[in-house]
C-alpha cells in the first residue's frame, strides 16, 4: 500500500524525528534524530552511534516508533505530524573492507541522501568510526492534523 501524500509530505519536509525504542523491561527511551525517508522501500533511515542506548534497545527489542511533526505554539489546529511504527534493523558494523557490497552501497546512498538533506549541518563530515545506519521498515503510520486523525497499515512484512 502506498503512503498517502499528506503523510509523505511530512516525512519529506521535516528535519527532526523522535525515535522511541524500549528495552526488554518495556522501559521506553526517546531521542531526537536526523533521518531520511526512502519512498521506494518505505523505510526511514537514521545514523547513530553503535554504543547508543537506542541501538542496545533495538537489539533487545526491534519494535520502534518515530514521530515527525510540525508544531505551532499558538494554534493547535496547525499541529501536524506522523508517527510511524515498525521494526528496526541495525546495519552490520565492521571495518569498511569487511562490509558486504550491499551494505557499502547502502552506506553510500544513505550518506548522500543525508548530505543533500542536511547540507547545512553535515557539510563534509564523514561517517564516524562507530556510526551505524538504522533502517525502520514502516508497518503502520498514524497521521494527525489539528484534531483529525488518520492511520494506515502497510503490508511491509517484518517481524510481527
Amino acid at each position: 500500500m502506498k503512503i498517502p501524500v499528506e503523510m509523505r509530505n511530512i516525512l519529506y519536509g521535516n528535519y527532526f524525528g523522535y525515535v522511541c525504542t524500549s528495552d526488554r523491561h518495556d522501559q521506553p527511551h526517546l531521542t531526537p534524530v536526523f533521518f531520511v525517508y526512502d519512498e521506494h522501500s518505505q523505510k526511514i533511515f537514521f545514523i547513530t552511534n553503535d554504543k547508543s542506548k537506542k541501538v542496545k534497545n533495538i537489539f533487545e527489542n526491534p519494535n520502534v516508533s518515530i514521530t515527525i511533526d510540525i508544531r505551532d505554539t499558538v494554534n493547535p489546529f496547525n499541529n501536524e505530524g506522523v508517527m510511524a511504527q515498525g521494526t528496526a534493523n541495525v546495519t552490520e558494523h565492521a571495518p569498511i573492507y569487511f562490509l558486504s557490497e550491499e551494505t557499502l552501497q547502502l552506506y553510500y546512498d544513505i550518506y548522500m541522501e543525508f548530505k543533500s538533506k542536511y547540507q547545512k549541518v553535515i557539510e563534509n563530515k564523514p561517517l564516524g568510526e562507530n556510526d551505524v545506519i538504522v533502517q525502520i521498515s514502516i508497518q503502520k503510520i498514524v497521521y494527525w492534523k489539528g484534531p483529525h486523525f488518520k492511520s494506515v497499515r502497510l503490508d511491509n512484512t517484518g517481524l510481527g
Partner: protein, 408 residues
C-alpha cells in the same frame, strides 16, 4: 578535611555506650534499642523490689518510650547523611560537608544543649521545691531509685538537646542551600533523591517535636514545665516544617535543564506496551518542581500508560541554523495518572496546574474549549483531559553533540 566527618557519624553518648558490651556487639541501631530495653527491664525490676505503685511504672515506661522514639528518629541522620551523594555544585557540596562537620563535630557540641537542659532541670527538681519526684516515686524514695530516675532524665534531656541541635542546624542548612541554589550555573545542582532525603529528615524532626507531648502526663502537676514542653514542641515542629518547606523549593534540576524545561513549548512522550513503542508530541507545564502533561481520554498513549506507566519524556530546543545550539533533555521514569480520586485529594495541585496550562497555552485553551471540537479534545472541565505527572528516575541531557547523564 575534618576527619571527624569521614568516620562513622556518631554522637558522644551513643559512642560511649556503644563501646560497652553487650551493646558493642550489635549494630548501632540495635544497640540503642537494647540500651532502652535494658532500662525498661531495670525499671520494672526496681519497681518490684521497691514496691512502687503502678503509676510510677507507667511514668517510667512512658519516659523510656519517648526516648526510644526520639532515638529512632534522630539516629536516621547518620546513616542518611553517610549515604548522601555529593551535590554537583562545589558550593553546595561544601555547605553539606560543613553541615555534617558541625552536626557530628569531634568536639561533640551536640551534647551542650542537652547538658544545659539536664542541669537546669535537675536544679529545678531537687532545689526549687518541686514535688515531681514525690509524684513519680512516692515519699522518701531509695537512693538507687533516684539515681535511676536521674539516668532517665539524662536520657530525655540529652535527646531534647539533640532535637534542638539537629533541627536548628537543619534550618540553617536549608536556608543556605536555597541561597546557593540561586547562584548555580549550567549543570550545577543537588540531585533530587538527596533533596528528598533532607526533606525526610526534616519531617522526622516534626515527629520528634510532636512526640514530646507524651511527656505531658509526667509533668502535669507542674504547669510551668508543661508550658516548657509545649514551647519545645512548637519550636522543633515549626523550625522543621519551615526547613522542609525551604528544601522543597530548592530546584532539583540544574539551571540549564531547568530553563530548557521552563521555556520549551512541546514535549514528546514515549510509551511501550509488550515491546511495541508509541511516541507523540504533548503540551506540558512545569511548576518549578513537577512536570505535567495532559492527554485526551481517548488517547492510545493513555491506554498504554494505564498498563505500563514507564515512560520516556523528551523536551528539546531545535534549531536547524545552528545544531551546536540544539539542546534536549530526556527524562525516563514513571508517570502518575490523575484520576477522579485525586480530585478531592489533590484539588489545589490540579487547579494550579490547570492555571499554568491556561497561562502557557492561552490560544490552546480557548480553541480547545469550543464545542465544535470532538469531545475528547475539549478542555472545559479539569477531568475532560487527563492530567499526567512525570516522575523521572533518570535524566540524560544533550547539548550540541555532547551527551551528559545527570543524577536524579
Amino acid at each position: 578535611m575534618d576527619k571527624g566527618a569521614k568516620k562513622e557519624m556518631k554522637w558522644i553518648y551513643e559512642e560511649i555506650v556503644g563501646r560497652i558490651p553487650p551493646f558493642s556487639l550489635v549494630s548501632y541501631q540495635y544497640s540503642i534499642l537494647m540500651q532502652l530495653l535494658f532500662l525498661l527491664i531495670l525499671g520494672l525490676i526496681f519497681g518490684f523490689i521497691f514496691n512502687l505503685e503502678s503509676i510510677s511504672l507507667f511514668y517510667g515506661s512512658l519516659a523510656i518510650l519517648v526516648a526510644v522514639s526520639w532515638s529512632l528518629l534522630i539516629l536516621q541522620l547518620g546513616p542518611t547523611l553517610r549515604k548522601f551523594r555529593a551535590p554537583l555544585s562545589k558550593d553546595e557540596n561544601e555547605l553539606l560537608e560543613r553541615y555534617k562537620g558541625i552536626l557530628f563535630h569531634r568536639n561533640h557540641y551536640e551534647a551542650i544543649p542537652g547538658l544545659a537542659i539536664f542541669i537546669q532541670f535537675m536544679l529545678y527538681l531537687f532545689f526549687y521545691g518541686s514535688d515531681l519526684v514525690e509524684n513519680w516515686l512516692g515519699k522518701n524514695p531509695h537512693i538507687i531509685l533516684l539515681l535511676f530516675v536521674s539516668l532517665l532524665i539524662w536520657d530525655i534531656c540529652y535527646r531534647m538537646g539533640l532535637g534542638i541541635w539537629a533541627s536548628v542546624l537543619a534550618l540553617w542548612r536549608s536556608v543556605r542551600l536555597k541561597k546557593l541554589a540561586e547562584k548555580r550555573t549550567e549543570l550545577e545542582h543537588t540531585p533530587y533523591t538527596e533533596l528528598r532525603s533532607l526533606q525526610k529528615l526534616d519531617i522526622n524532626n516534626v515527629f520528634f517535636g510532636i512526640i514530646s507531648l507524651l511527656l505531658i502526663p509526667l509533668l502535669q502537676s507542674d504547669n510551668f514545665l508543661v508550658t516548657i514542653i509545649v514551647i519545645f514542641m512548637l519550636f522543633i515542629t515549626l523550625i522543621s516544617v519551615i526547613s522542609a518547606y525551604i528544601v522543597s523549593k530548592v530546584p532539583w534540576l540544574p539551571p540549564d535543564i531547568y530553563n530548557l524545561v521552563n521555556e520549551s513549548s512541546f514535549a514528546y512522550i514515549g510509551t511501550s506496551l509488550g515491546g511495541v513503542t508509541h511516541v507523540t508530541p504533548v503540551v506540558y507545564v512545569f511548576d518549578g518542581q513537577k512536570i505535567f502533561f495532559n492527554t485526551s481520554k481517548e488517547a492510545k498513549k493513555l491506554k498504554i500508560m494505564q498498563k505500563n506507566n514507564k515512560v520516556a519524556f523528551l523536551i528539546d530546543k531545535r534549531d536547524m541554523s545552528n545544531i551546536y545550539e540544539n539542546k534536549a533533555v530526556l527524562f525516563t521514569g514513571e508517570v502518575k495518572i490523575y484520576g477522579l480520586l485525586d480530585v478531592p485529594l489533590r484539588l489545589v495541585q490540579m487547579l494550579q496546574t490547570l492555571s499554568l496550562f491556561i497561562k502557557k497555552y492561552p490560544e490552546y485553551t480557548r480553541k480547545y474549549s469550543t464545542s465544535e471540537l470532538p469531545k475528547a479534545w475539549q478542555l472545559t472541565p479539569i477531568i475532560a483531559r487527563i492530567l499526567v505527572e512525570v516522575k523521572p528516575i533518570k535524566i540524560i541531557y544533550w547539548r550540541g553533540a555532547k551527551q551528559i547523564s545527570v543524577p536524579v
